[in-house]
Amino acid sequence: MTVADVLLLALGALAVGSGALVVTSSHLVRSGLYLVVSLGAIAGLYLVLGAELVAWVQILVYVGAVVVLLLFAVMLTRAPIGPSADLDRPALPAALIGGGAGLGLAALFADAFRWVRYAAPEPGTAERVGEQIFGAWVLPFEVISILLLSALVGAIVLSRPDIGARVDTPAGEPEVPA
C-alpha cells in the first residue's frame, strides 16, 4: 500500500458513500449537495491518477456549473425544503438491476486487473493535453463545439415561451418546432 493507494481508497470510499446518499436521500437539496461531495472526490481521484487538467475541469464544470444548474432547477420547481415522502418507486427492481450492474462490473474489473501494481503516471499537464486535443483529436473537438452550440440554441428555444410551435395561429411567422 503506497500513499497513492491510500488516497485512492479514501477518495473512492467518499465518492461511493456520498453517491449512495445522492440516490437515497429524501431531501432534494441535500441530494444535490451530496452530489457536490461525490464529484469533488472524483476530482481528487483524477488528481491522484495524474489527470490534472481533467480534475480542474471537473471542478469548474461539474461542481461549479452543473450542480448549480441542478439546484436552480430544484428551486425553480418549488421543491419542498423538508423531506419528501413520494420521491421513490419501489426499491426491489431498481436495486436488483443497479446492484447487478454495479457489482457485476466491479467483479469483472477486479478479476481483470487483480492486485497488479502499475507505474504512477507523470502528471498530465495542460500543455500535453492541449497538444493531444489540437493534434490527434482536433476533428472531434470541432464537432463537439458545434454540438454545444446546437444544445445552447435548443435550450433557448425550449425555454422561451414566445417562440415555439403555435397551435391555431392564422398565417403567422414560420413555425419553430419545439
Binding site: L9, G19, L28, L49, G98, A136, I144, G164
Partner: protein, 123 residues
C-alpha cells in the same frame, strides 16, 4: 498504484447511477443519477489511460490514424469530451424539465402523459 481501486469505484458508482435512474420519480433526481453514471464512465476512462499506458508504448499506430493518435493521454481527452457532453445534456434536460413544469406544475416522471397533445396548456 493499484488501478483496481478506481476501476471498482467507477463500477460501483455506475451501479448507483442505474439504481437512482430506476428508483427516483423526480426528474431532477433522475438527472443527478445520470450525472453519477457519466462520472463513473469518466473515472474509468482516466484509469484506463493509466493502466493501458505501459501496454501502448511501442505500439505501431494504425495507418488510418494520425501519427500520435494512440499515445498515452487519450483517456483524459476523452474524459474532457464526456464532461462537455454532460454539460450540454444537463442544459437541454433542465430546459425540458422546466418547460414541462411550467405547463403541468409537476416534475414526476412516471406521471407524464404522452397522449394529450390537444389539451396542452399555453406556456
Amino acid at each position: 498504484m493499484h488501478v483496481v481501486i478506481p476501476y471498482v469505484v467507477g463500477a460501483l458508482l455506475f451501479g448507483l447511477g442505474v439504481y437512482g435512474v430506476l428508483r427516483r420519480r423526480n426528474a431532477i433526481l433522475v438527472l443527478m443519477a445520470v450525472e453519477l453514471m457519466l462520472n463513473a464512465v469518466n473515472l474509468i476512462l482516466v484509469t484506463a489511460d493509466v493502466s493501458l499506458r505501459s501496454a501502448l508504448t511501442g505500439v505501431v499506430v494504425e495507418s488510418w490514424a494520425r501519427p500520435g493518435a494512440a499515445t498515452p493521454g487519450s483517456g483524459g481527452v476523452l474524459a474532457l469530451f464526456v464532461i462537455v457532453l454532460a454539460a450540454a445534456e444537463v442544459g437541454v434536460g433542465l430546459a425540458i424539465i422546466l418547460q414541462y413544469y411550467r405547463m403541468r406544475k409537476a416534475v414526476v416522471v412516471d406521471e407524464v402523459r404522452l397522449d394529450d397533445d390537444e389539451e396542452r396548456v399555453a406556456g
